[in-house]
Symmetry: C2
Subunit: 257 residues, 2 copies
Amino acid sequence: MPPHFGEAPSLTAFQALTCLSMAQVKALIFDVFGTLVDWRTGVAAEAGRMFGAKGIAIDPFDFADQWRGEYQPAMRRIREGARGYVPLDILHRENLDIVLEKNAISARFDAAERETLNHAWEKLPAWPDVPDALAALKERFITAPCSNGSIAMMVRLARFAGLSWDAILGADIARDYKPKPQTYLASVAALGLAPDAVMMVAAHNDDLQAAQDCGLKTAFIARPHEYGPDANVEITPTGDWNCAATDLGYLADILMA
Amino acid sequence: MPPHFGEAPSLTAFQALTCLSMAQVKALIFDVFGTLVDWRTGVAAEAGRMFGAKGIAIDPFDFADQWRGEYQPAMRRIREGARGYVPLDILHRENLDIVLEKNAISARFDAAERETLNHAWEKLPAWPDVPDALAALKERFITAPCSNGSIAMMVRLARFAGLSWDAILGADIARDYKPKPQTYLASVAALGLAPDAVMMVAAHNDDLQAAQDCGLKTAFIARPHEYGPDANVEITPTGDWNCAATDLGYLADILMA
C-alpha cells in the first residue's frame, strides 16, 4: 500500500496513475481554497467566534456555506465582462453584506466587524498533509498558487497556514477569474514557461479541465471533506489527468520518486 | 559599535537613523539588482565562462558593465509610452544583441547560447549579509521584491541566491518600470496596504525618492561595491529616508530591535 493512501480509506474509486513526462515539468501551480486549505472550518471558526460574542444562534458552518455560495455568482459577472476585475477580497466583502442581510443579522455588524470577519478568508487551516508536502515539492519544482484569491489574501493565508511559495500567481496576475483560460495562461507566462512545463494541482475536476484545455499538465487530489465531514463531492477524478492521488502528501511521494 | 557596521569601514558619512513609526510598517519591499544581489559579479562569471570556452579576450566585467549600460535606455522607451510593457528578460535579451555587436563578437554566439547567457541575470550571488537578514525580516514583515525584474527572473534568482519571499511584486505586476509611480503603487495595492504601511529598501537614492513621493517609507542601505571593488557610487543616503544602514544585516538589527 503506498504511503498516505491509508489516510482516506473511503476512496477506492481510483489510485495513483503513472505520472508520465514529469521530466519536463518545471513548476506546479495550485488551487488553494478546498485543495490546500479547509475554508469551511476556518470561516466557520471566525464566524462562530463573533456569533458567540453577540449571542447569535446561527450555525457558523451553515453561514460559511452560504457565504461561499455567493462566490461563483459574484465572479460570474466579471468572467462575463459585465463588471471589470475586482479582487476577491472585495467580492467576499460584498457577499458578506448579502449573507448577513439574508440571515437578518445585518444590524448586528458594523463596518469594522465586517472587515474583521472578511479577513477570516486569510485564516484558513491547511489540510494536515499540505505544509510538509508543499515544502518537499518546492525543493524540486517552482511552486505558486493559481487561485482566485488576490495576492493580498494569498500572502496572508500562506503566512497563517505555514505555506511557502516562489510567487503568487492566479487571478490578480491575470485580472480575470478561473476557469477563464487567461488565468492559467497569464500564470504560466509569468513564469516564462510553456503550458506543458507547468502542472495544475486541484481537487476540482472543472479547474483541471480548464487548465488541461490551456495545455497544462494536471494532477487531481481528493478532498472529500471540503464541504464537511458528511459530504463526498469530487472525490473521484473524472478527467484524463496526468496524476491522481488521495492527498498532496501522496502526490508529493509520486512526483518526488 | 553596532553589529555589521564594521563590515564596511569606509562608510563614515552616515549612521543608522532612528526608525520612527515602524509599528505601522507591515511590509518591506526591496530593490534587488545591486541592493540584494551582485549583478556585476554574477553576469561577469557567466560571460567569462562562455568567453573562455570560445577564446574571446574581452574583460567579462567590462562586458557586464556595458550590458547593464543598455538597461536604462531600454526601459526609458517603455516608461515614456513609446513602447508597450515587455518584461525585463526580453529587454536584456535585446540588449545582449546590441552589446555583442558592439564588441564585434555577434557571429560567435548562436541563439541558444544567447539564451543561456541571458539567464545569467537569474544566477547572481546575494551580498553575503542578505540571506540571513532577509529570513529574519520575513519573520516580522511581509517581504517582496519591488524590482524591474520580471516574476520569472525573480523566482529563479531567489532560488539561486537563497532568498525567500512572500510574493513577487514590481514591474510585472505594474506593467511599468521604476521609478514610475505605478510600479510602487501597484505593488503596495497588491498587498492590500496603504503606502505608508510599506517600506521600500534600496541602495539607490533615486529609487527611494520615487517611493517616498508615492507615500512609502524608505530605508537606504549602502552597496559600495555594486560597480566593482574600486567604485564608490551611492554609498551615502542623500534624502530624508526613514532609515539608513551600511548593509541589510544592520538594517535588520535596527528594524527587529
